[in-house]
Symmetry: C2
Subunit: 437 residues, 2 copies
């Protein structure tokens, strides 16, 4: 903290607001920009720093949150126009981050209802990938990725139901973390699926993810699923000797060649670093069947969570049709979907025994052009961690063609969130890791 | 094994068959008696013993299984008349027990479809409590309890979805165990609820439960939920210093006074033995609401599991009506029921931290007369362990009025099954434990 400018927090906040004003007309990452309150929070942070009363590593750092996470006084629209009443309280994560001194800049564009992965939003605009104009940033937390990748804010929060933090992080060359289920309270989240939803951070480096996670973690009386937190075990100091499960070739059959090549390069670099790669099968894991089960559970739970709002205005016909499908699904099919999730969670628990993580590509392809056909399998590799309730870290990989980045994820045992962050820090220097210019 | 008669297994089997012939016309515990195959299995056991090749503590012991557990060549009727085709293979538990030398005597009466707790079965007869003629043995594993309590076989298997092993054990003065979810494979079980079902043993003492559990436990490739078994930790050698959570008085408000008195006596004896009783609340636990959620999940899953059989004959109108309710339930209500189960499992996990077990009455009342109004809350205390996926041991308690026994259960952390058995053995000598005359 030596040589910290007296107005460092305010400077960062003004820089964020300036950058948003300059580029977000094209990117469309933000839904709401909270200039006045952000400046006030930044000044308060600067005052604390001047008094030697810093609240920690996030004090004074600007951030923004996905539009399905409540911010007091701001509508939580969840990518629709159906919810225009201002939230009466901050989501627990927002309250904890503000209490740690982080400066809230605004709320972020997302795929409508979090149910999709392109962030081509009919109400809030087609969010653009800052790495390539006209391309999707992924989704559903597309605004959360675009805001960081475009340099508007250093980190954001997204939500991840079947991959919605990790897919946009992958498409935009960022690091992202889906925490262990229950570690980060979801109080104040507009649910897509209360069974699968997690709130997680996106940033340009793993250390920031770890700092944000530490502030957000811990039980919250208002969220029954957050009642148990085992705490963090010892953090790894070297990749040498770590054991990572890797899928067989058949599991990756639908990947683009450029993704497979990048994944091969990543695996080779792990071996060079002394890690042991172990062929691993998750019993019962069929990515397509899992995606369909997760989608049905999401449609049923989202329709139930949104309730009467479904009958009002402000939803697209396509989104409403998906929820209507959930409202009409047969009981037996719903029960079978929950059963698939239960069984796969046990299969994952068995597969991860004795491993530090399972390594997979994050998505089967890279970002693609808005308007192109949307690949059905975008969440095929990411949904596994949601179903298992396990933490997963995505990291950006260099593509051999020098184009848009690829990405890999490490899925860890439950409660190994900070171990994953520490692994990410150890991997940061590996040659295949992608870095922005 | 010294001084073992050369025909000990056959003698026990003949004794079982003789006893069944003598008393089961009144008790109606058995659906099928397998005299010939039982005698053959017993002779084979005697031959092994004579050759010094005993397969272990169960070799030559007669047992019987509830009618929803598959026995090759015998119809698995699940308390109905809808499934008269002989099973093509033994359930995994039956195969394992037979492989350990146990002698299968037959299949046992149960509440129709396992969905109820009186075993007043419209097709297989009103099963009687051997401790008092005309009274229910409980259910749904009523035949499993009655067969042991009437001295027909030394132990049986039942199944427990919301209490269906523990309630009949309680009503008949037996010990019973509901194992950790996934510890005992359910391959070959006709499901009531694949989410909540467990197969567990009933016997006159805890040691027998432990021996049976040891043989039944372990992964089975055909049951995805059995993929993980953590193994047994150290077993306790004394009750001194053990920590048991106890509910507050409000949670027990609906108990009969005689049950509360017996529970008080049990708690006092635990304290005398040096145990520490800790007031414990399971966050979110509302017994009535939990029962309704578990019932809805069971109705939905059972209707799905039975499939086309629902449209045929051999089911009572009452049972069919419950499953029809499950087939027509609204998706949102189903999803909320699964959510309640998920949240309560987390609440239990938080509550059990630092405890060796949570101690509760097994049922709010004792056995009652067939034909009397059926108490709504029979499973109010037992369903908690099914939802938590946790093991639970029920043990019989003496009633102050000298009448039918009461019962308490100890619910342990996941995978503490053999610890519970060992605790039971340590508790066996406590004064409040009920013993048959």
């Amino acid at each position: 903290m030596t040589a910290r400018p007296e107005t460092a927090a305010l400077d960062q906040t003004e820089a964020a607001l300036t950058r948003i004003a300059a580029v977000d007309g094209d990117i469309r990452a933000f839904v709401t920009v909270l200039g006045d309150s952000a400046r006030a929070e930044a000044r308060a942070s600067d005052t604390r720093h001047a008094a030697g009363q810093s609240l920690g590593p996030l004090d004074g750092m600007p951030f923004a949150v996905k539009d399905n996470i409540a911010v007091a006084g701001v509508p939580t629209q969840s990518g629709t126009l159906a919810f225009d009443a201002p939230a009466t309280a901050d989501a627990t994560v927002v309250a904890r981050l503000r209490a740690a001194g982080a400066v809230l800049i605004g709320t972020l564009n997302m795929h409508e209802g979090a149910l999709g992965a392109t962030t081509d939003n009919p109400f809030w605009g087609r969010c653009m990938n800052p790495l390539r104009p006209g391309f999707t940033p992924g989704g559903s937390s597309g605004g959360s990725a675009a805001a960081v990748a475009a340099g508007m804010v250093p980190w954001t929060l997204g939500t991840d139901t079947m991959g919605s933090v990790r897919i946009p992080a992958a498409y935009c060359g960022l690091w992202g973390l889906k925490p262990t289920r229950g570690r980060v309270p979801v109080t104040g989240l507009t649910h897509l699926s209360w069974t699968l939803d997690s709130i997680g951070p996106l940033a340009r480096d793993p250390a920031t993810l770890g700092a944000v996670l530490a502030v957000m973690s811990g039980p919250d009386a208002a969220d029954p699923m957050s009642a148990v937190l085992q705490g963090d075990g010892a953090l790894p100091g070297t990749l040498d000797g770590m054991r990572f499960g890797i899928p067989d070739a058949a599991a990756l059959a639908d990947c683009e060649p450029v993704v497979l090549d990048a994944f091969d390069d990543f695996k080779a670099s792990l071996i060079d670093a002394g890690a042991v790669l172990v062929p691993t099968e998750v019993a019962g894991w069929s990515p397509g069947a899992l995606r369909r089960a997760g989608l049905l559970v999401s449609e049923v739970e989202c329709a139930e969570a949104l309730g009467d709002a479904l009958d009002g205005t402000g939803l697209s016909d396509g989104f409403r049709a998906m929820l209507d499908y959930g409202k009409r699904a047969k009981p037996g099919r719903i029960a079978r979907a929950y059963q698939q999730l239960q069984q796969l969670a046990v299969g994952f628990e068995a597969a991860i025994q004795g491993l530090d993580g399972i390594v997979l590509p994050t998505a089967p392809q890279r970002a693609f052009a808005h308007g192109d056909p949307v690949p059905a399998g975008q969440a095929d590799f990411t949904a596994l961690a949601n179903v298992a309730g396990a933490p997963a870290l995505t990291l950006p990989l260099t593509a051999r063609d020098g184009g848009l980045p690829c990405a890999a994820q490490i899925i860890g045992p439950r409660e190994s969130d900070q171990q994953l962050v520490a692994m990410g820090q150890l991997m940061q220097g590996l040659p295949p890791i992608w870095r922005p210019d």
